[in-house]
Symmetry: C2
Subunit: 520 residues, 2 copies
């Protein structure tokens, strides 16, 4: 943005400084999860709290409000009322975020931070001892505080937004329950039917359909898994001058600067594909971040250079994990590499190798769920969040509600709360409104993939030819540069020409299921 | 410090916050040198500059000055004029540092930062192209600015301190040229004689004395070197819950929090002992840091919990590298491990293995120097710093002065400035006054070791019994807990009962040399 008025330059400097602090925080988080010895945690917590308070101050202070107001004035004056789109959008997003920060009573912000920390501690203990009642008071407090937060934030929101919708805005801008209903209803209808089809098929004499148990080795040598992850990244454009892969207990992706991208993976005993698929997944997140409109860094501090929603972010990781790495053509190509140095071939042929990359068996744990049942795990959580936040369901009823609905949706019932409503960390930290983004990611990925295939032909054909770069090129041309110029729903409509629906996802699943079951 | 006056608590909070920022900076530095992809450097530079400016502000602001003054008043009042030693010393050290900060013209601080950055860039290029004249203007500017800095700082220093002495204070508190003269004169006399003795011995028919060339394998497998480093640390009390070892281009040790200690090593092609000895060295630094009086963290933000001087710090790393790891008993014990998995034994016996751990050949490069010639490299630099800063020697004369003095001291002459006066980074960043600490480390280490041996018997005997923990225990009892309660010279006198001298070091070298030459 050359030749800007002074007020805009001051604002950009403020944002640059804010972004520096935010990225320092990310660097500490990365170190904490990859390198830091455990005893460093207390001091690290103090460091992060210091940065968080500096960040909050910078994002909500009267000085910043003045800076933003001056920039808004200057933008209008400088261009005679005709503010360029990008600048208008940047200022709009900054204004919205500031108004939200300023709606909040600082006492509530502090109470929430304390309750989140307490909730996390209670949850750790409750999960360990499988005792929901130990967690219930913490969860109850978090629900109350978050409802209070939604009431305070309502002043900055459209009048018709419900408390749950308000809390979901940071993750999925402009999301509504009506939209989610329209998207989730087909999932609730069709996914159980698909699961039934799998169950029927696997009830026959052919045991191979019972997922991971059949055919896959319990272990692939760790060095081989590491090697495969490296080769995968190399073939997908990993540039060691800008990227770094480390190991951590839970895989994640994070961006530490405009040219500093990190991902982490782990080797999981007994899950021979876990590291490889997680690498594909996290690299998908990272590719999106790398493709955001930062260019020469001038967008990095501005909102337009950010990811637009968690759903879109997840769509990019799922594209590379599910559409590409779990696809048949990819399995055909990589099957020989997975056998490197193994004494016996645990799969026998490429079809069975591909089949093992795609387990199809409903389980109790969301993070281990296959593509068929994943959406139902989310529906369950979304319904229960609404019940807790908007329908006065007492926290004490959560375990029974969870188990009953799990039985209805997936046909299985947790034997304990530890593998039921205590399995995820999100609620323990007061994170309500986030889960649907995971399911939206599947839907968005499928709809964008349909458009991509209409445009440049089947994904499998490109993968078969070893030309994943073409797929990257398409995403880099159509999806990544949009940044926050559009929200998630608008992005899908802009790219695919029609509103987001569940249809492409369900169509993709039916087709893939048919082919998988044909293998056995 | 329980039951403190409010002003002391406020001061401690301020220092805690300052220490958090400083340690965040260290965490970024650690990440930069171990993990960060190269393209992240520009943004990382911005992050570090932001933290540096926050730190400078916190350490020199009027608000901080008020806080310190209030604490000084409160300390005096609270105890009726009889301030406890520890508190008095803490306040004294803080006051001294504040007065130094406040002597400096902010314009000079900025000019120095720019000149350091420029100096580094010019030096990189000059060293690459072996062209001292490209570096000379940058060095000249740095000399002028540092002289100016010394003039400004003089207001906070005793009247008789010279410019060089003033600049050396941050590294070696209370150091004087008179002290250094007394310590370095014997080095200049004796070390060349010892080098002559080696030369005479190696001129004979026995080729083994020509250091690394003879007997040592060009390479030890990297995995073996890594394994040996891990075993070394494990046997020396490395606690993975508080410590972390990573790899970096140049080995270093740093502390990121009161329970978070990092060291780094590297495997150097063609130098089979480099990683192992560097691990011993860096772990020595880390042990000292771990043994500083932090206890329950109440000393961590206070000066008393800090290392007292670079010379003492270096004495601790050199103790473990030279006195222990390069010692004969240690070599006897580790010789079998170094042969693990090797097809042939490259050394033949433990004596020759030990001999190879102790090269004895003067070279041009300081960081590769042996124990005999290292001190002379420092004498050279110290004399040239005095010439530049206090004796008006023109920068242009540096190369000739360097080469001439190198010939006199070590009997060798650089063929190029790249392996002469351009070899170190210190001056390129305006770092004058630092080099002597390296030599002081050798002297202090020897004098402390002599006391230790008088107290609990020969180091070799403990090592022979695999009881290095006893050595650690002695240092932990006598040296580490002193923190900054004493300066480096006082520490040596306190522990050994007499002033620091070169005698123990030279005595140690003569004895070791005799034994080494007996091997061949």
């Amino acid at each position: 943005m050359p030749d800007q008025p002074a007020a805009l330059i001051s604002l950009q400097q403020h944002l640059h400084h804010t972004r520096l602090l935010g990225s320092i925080s990310s660097a500490l988080y990365y170190d904490q999860n990859t390198v830091m010895p455990p005893a460093g945690a207390a001091w690290r917590g103090d460091q992060l709290a210091l940065l968080a308070s500096q960040l909050h101050e910078r994002q909500s202070s009267a000085a910043y409000a003045d800076l933003l107001a001056a920039a808004e004035d200057a933008a209008g004056e400088a261009v005679g009322g005709d503010v360029p789109d990008a600048l208008r959008r940047n200022l709009q997003l900054l204004r919205l975020e500031l108004e939200r920060q300023r709606c909040l009573d600082p006492a509530l912000v502090q109470a929430l931070a304390r309750a989140q920390s307490r909730g996390n501690a209670l949850w750790q203990e409750a999960r360990r001892s499988n005792d929901f009642s130990a967690f219930a008071p913490g969860l109850s407090e978090l629900v109350q505080l978050r409802r209070q937060q939604a009431r305070q934030l309502a002043a900055a929101e459209p009048a018709d937004r419900s408390p749950w919708e308000i809390l979901a805005q940071p993750f999925e801008p402009d999301i509504s329950k009506a939209q989610l209903n329209a998207l989730f209803t087909p999932l609730k209808e069709v996914l159980p039917q698909l699961l039934d089809r799998v169950a029927t098929a696997s009830a026959g004499p052919e045991p191979a359909a019972s997922a991971r148990a059949a055919g896959s080795p319990a272990e692939l040598p760790e060095a081989l898994q590491e090697q495969l992850c490296s080769e995968l990244l190399q073939s997908w454009g990993y540039d060691p001058s800008r990227c770094q892969r480390s190991r951590s207990a839970h895989p994640f992706s994070c961006t530490l600067g405009p040219a500093d991208f990190r991902i982490t993976t782990r080797v999981v005993p007994g899950q021979p594909f876990s590291a490889f698929l997680a690498t594909a997944h996290e690299w998908g997140h990272s590719l999106y971040e790398q493709g955001l409109p930062w260019g020469d860094d001038h967008y990095f501090p501005w909102p337009l250079g950010e990811a637009t929603s968690m759903g879109v972010h997840e769509s990019q990781s799922l594209f590379w994990e599910c559409r590409v790495a779990r696809g048949r053509a990819f399995a055909e190509r990589w099957y020989p590499r997975f056998r490197t140095g193994l004494e016996a071939d645990p799969w026998g042929n490429a079809s069975r190798f591909w089949r093992q990359l795609n387990p199809l068996q409903p389980g109790l744990i969301r993070v281990e769920a296959d593509e068929l049942s994943y959406g139902l795990h989310i529906v369950l959580r979304y319904e229960l969040e609404l019940a807790l936040l908007e329908q006065e369901m007492p926290v004490a009823e959560l375990p029974a509600a969870w188990n009953g609905r799990m039985q209805e949706l997936l046909g299985i019932r947790p034997a304990s709360d530890a593998e039921g409503c205590l399995q995820d960390i999100h609620w323990a930290e007061g994170l309500f409104g986030y889960f649907p983004s995971y399911a939206l990611g599947h839907l968005i990925s499928a709809q964008l993939a349909e458009t991509l295939e209409a445009d440049i032909g089947p994904i499998e054909r490109h993968v078969d030819a070893g030309e994943e770069a073409t797929l990257q090129g398409w995403l880099a041309g159509h999806v990544w540069p949009l940044g926050r110029s559009v929200n998630g729903a608008e992005l899908v409509e802009r790219v695919s020409g029609r509103p987001l629906s569940a249809e492409p996802f369900l169509g993709y699943l039916e087709h893939k299921l048919e082919r998988l079951l044909a293998v056995g």
